[in-house]
Amino acid sequence: MKILVCIKQVPDMESKFKVDAAGTWYDNADLAWRMNEYDEYAVEQAVQLKEQAGEGDITVLSIGPDKVKEAMKKALAMGCDRGVHVSDDAVSSKEPYQIASIIAAFAGDKGFDVIFTGLQSQDRGSGQVGVLVGELLGLPSVTTVVDFNMEGDSVTAKRELEGGIRAVVKVATPALFTCQLGLNTPRYPTLPNIMKAKKKELLTIPVADLLDVDPRQQTAALFFPEKKGGGLVLEGEVGDLADQLVQILKEKTTVLS
């Protein structure tokens, strides 16, 4: 069984963001980077699928500059077999359709049985790439998956809907699945597996070899939202803060009376 997992590297969302000089993205300096949270579930599901099947070969793919290899190394340490780094220093100007086209161009002739992506990325969060890859490859895609079970070439998946209701669907492979939070419990790479991962194949392909479509949209501006909330911000020593908050709760609410 051949499995493909697509992962994106994103900044830590707790970072203090700044707008870059061009005014169209956040400044990449001084950010801590990690694997997109949704993609951790995708990697884990791929590894579990291989373990359950007792055989299989998992390719992890990521598009971006050299530093995205850090996220790929984590995926290899979690149990992916090989990495494909689509090297693109100008990934910033790519939009979801182009990213999907690159992935589809790579996957086109490889005969993957199962493809996993995240439901969405944490930074840009379009929630488009997975479905677009499926459409471009002519494969069925199931989104927002919180439960995945494969028997033979048939997959039963549960799609999460609003209110936590689930729609149960069946589909034959080859097929693509976009992974939602809570699908599984992503493992932590162990030290021996981190060492082993260093020896795994990590192929680099220049993006120009895979991309031949123009962008369908562009970013005109990136900016901070106007603060509408205007609530009170309290900072200081915890004892004082607790006193202040108790006072506020007494004045503004009835819960302490």
């Binding site: 969302m13 707790e14 203090k16 963001f17 707008v19 956040y26 359709y97 944490q122 930074d123 969060g125 929630g127 488009q128 479905v131 677009l132 459409e135 471009l136 069925p140 199931v142 989104t143 927002t144 799609r159 999460e160 809907l161 209110g163 936590g164 209701i165 729609a167 669907v169 069946k170 939070l181 809570g182 123009d214 962008p215 369908r216 949209q217 562009q218 970013t219 005109a220 990136l222 900016f223 939202p225 603060k227 909330g229 609530g231 911000v233 309290l234 900072e235 915890v238 803060l241 607790a242 006193d243 908050l245 108790v246 506020i248 709760l249 503004k252 609410t253 009835t254 819960v255 302490l256």
Partner: protein
């Protein structure tokens, strides 16, 4: 300018979110028609053409079938915008339609600024203004971003549509959310634990404050997904919707899906180490502190009267 609005129907019900689509179209100043796979007995209040496929015949959501129906309507209507809600239905169907139309898709629109679409970035810490390069644009709207002051009125002119399409994906049934246990919707005080609690042992800090305040404790999704707290205490779009007198969000960043479940609370206190956390947008008071130190101190003060 023409917009085709895609309303939703699930498990025998027309979803009220179609009103948000109308609210958006009005702001945009577009003429609109609507598409619905639903039932003639539960029509949206709307003045205009409604392309209706019969859910009883089409069955529950099947992406390929809905895509084919929608493409045939688009062919007739020739809209400039095809507008979905950014929901489990919208984010599933919209990219399929966009791909077939070779159209640009702009996801999770929260605002129209100078005629162009604005979307959130990095958990709503930033916003991005996006311009399409294509004639036709597919949009999904963030739930709750576009409302109507008054519910819409009127009755649509119904045009029936149908298809023979069958897709490779078979729907086999719905499963209810894990039910039972705690009904937080009746609680007057809720103290919720977010990922910022750090480890399962720290959930007791949150429980202690909740009991000192005579309330219940809840949680954000990652805390539930990690099984530190049971699902029936999850607050948010895929958990419960609550509106207590006091909501204390501890170590919760304030993702839209969490806010949707608690922003109607009467008074909101957030405790967070990140002064810029988006929870600050809805909080009446944001305490910038490490919850592991602050919450026990607060609990002591409250117990001490």
């Amino acid at each position: 300018m023409k917009a085709l609005l895609v309303a939703e129907y699930r498990d025998g019900q027309l979803l009220g979110s179609y009103q948000e689509l109308i609210g958006f179209a009005r702001q945009l100043g577009a003429d609109c028609s609507m598409f619905l796979v639903g039932s003639g007995s539960a029509l949206p209040a709307f003045e205009g053409t409604l392309y209706l496929a019969d859910a009883a015949q089409v069955g529950d959501y099947n992406p390929d079938v809905h895509k084919q129906l929608l493409l045939s309507v688009i062919e007739q209507e020739q809209p400039d915008y095809i507008v979905f809600l950014h929901s489990s239905y919208g984010w599933d169907l919209a990219p399929r339609v966009a791909c077939s139309l070779k159209a640009s898709q702009i996801s999770e629109v929260v605002e129209i600024k100078d005629g162009t679409m604005v979307v959130p970035v990095c958990n709503a810490k930033l916003r991005r203004q996006v311009t399409p390069n294509t004639q036709v644009t597919v949009l999904t709207l963030q739930a709750g971003a576009f409302g109507l002051a008054e519910p819409p009125t009127g009755s649509p002119e119904v045009k029936e549509v149908s298809t023979d399409a069958v897709g490779p994906i078979t729907f086999t049934g719905y499963e209810a959310a894990e039910a039972g246990g705690v009904d937080l919707s009746k609680s007057e005080v809720i103290v919720s634990a977010g990922r910022g609690v750090g480890k399962p042992e720290n959930v007791s800090i949150i429980e202690d404050l909740a009991s000192a305040l005579g309330g219940d404790y809840g949680a954000s999704r990652p805390v539930v997904d990690s099984e530190w707290v049971e699902h029936n205490r999850q607050v948010g779009t895929t958990g419960q919707t609550v509106a207590p007198k006091l909501y204390v969000a501890c170590g919760i960043s304030g993702a839209i899906q969490h806010l949707a479940g608690m922003k109607k609370s009467e008074f909101i206190v957030a405790v967070n180490t990140d002064k810029d956390a988006p929870i600050g947008e809805v909080a009446d008071v944001l305490v910038v502190a490490d919850l592991k130190q602050f919450i026990p101190a607060l609990t002591e003060k409250i117990k001490g009267g």
